[in-house]
Symmetry: C2
Subunit: 151 residues, 2 copies
DNA sequence: GCAATATTGACAAATTACTTGTCAATATTG
DNA sequence: CAATATTGACAAGTAATTTGTCAATATTGC
């Protein structure tokens, strides 16, 4: 029958790659006792951001309750520290501790290894073109689909 | 601090786009009473494949029990039909019915609408370059990470 | 053919990764 | 300062999927 369009294939590949990447990343994260949600929080704070729980949640488009639990656990494990929030006295800001920053740096380094394999033999120009295109897709998407609140 | 590499950004965007796309697709699928897993099965069979449950599962990298349940439901709803499997008498092959094929065609058409918005203003060359790059990534990935069985 | 081994479908329970609901405490704002 | 909103904590619910188990039946190696 008709060949699928390039557009369709791009979205198909995004779906497949996401799953494949998630599996690779999960294997690695598990070795450090982290879940994907933990990694996401660390990423939002790396290297020097300070954010409150509700703000991390809204940037990550997940419920604040979920991020609350994740942040509490990371705090307990010594990867995060809290500081007073000038904008809201009940909702402290969180930042990486030195240990947390080192942890995420290591995670990134390991991921970079995987990335280098994943991108082996792909010309830099193609990677840059892909980045530009996906970014445009992402912003198109946001422009039309980012008008929902919760809670 | 240091700017993230293009490689890293590409994978970041894949993660973000996957989630955004999943949300868009889910809204549409729900209207047809389907879940993402149903769509995946229909896609594997569209337009004229015939596959047994364990084979769909292995291609989709999910457990055969999960696909079994999904296929049973689609069969009950009249979207699939079974035929004898020459390679295994207990494990019939499944194919789309006419209704099932029409359903998936409609899903695809609706998705194409969304895709056209998502890709609006992106040059065809960039889309093609992106497709080529993602495909290369996907095959790199498969080449190294496809050696695990289950069950 | 026939025995040993493997595969399959069915079902149940467990797991993961969240969301939603609720509430009291405390903030912010008008 | 009173009305309203936000936050953190906790509980319960949900969706999608995995894992475990089993009996039935296939396939295979001899």
């Amino acid at each position: 029958m008709q060949a699928p369009s390039s557009q369709y294939e791009v979205t198909w590949l995004i779906r497949r790659l996401f799953r494949a990447m998630a599996q690779l990343a999960d294997n690695y994260l598990r070795a450090h006792g982290l879940a994907a949600a933990d990694r996401a929080v660390l990423e939002f704070l790396y290297p020097d951001e300070t954010l409150a729980v509700p703000e991390i949640a809204s940037r990550n488009q997940v419920s604040r309750q979920h991020i609350q639990v994740t942040v509490n656990a990371l705090l307990e494990d010594g990867f995060l520290q809290s500081r007073p929030n000038p904008r809201h006295k009940r909702s402290p800001l969180f930042a990486l501790t030195h240990v947390g920053r080192e942890l995420f740096r290591k995670i990134r380094a390991a991921e970079t290894e995987l990335l280098n394999q994943l991108f082996a033999d792909i010309p830099a120009d193609d990677i840059e073109c892909t980045r530009r295109t996906l970014q445009a897709m992402y912003f198109h998407n946001l422009a039309q689909g980012d008008t929902h609140e919760s809670d």
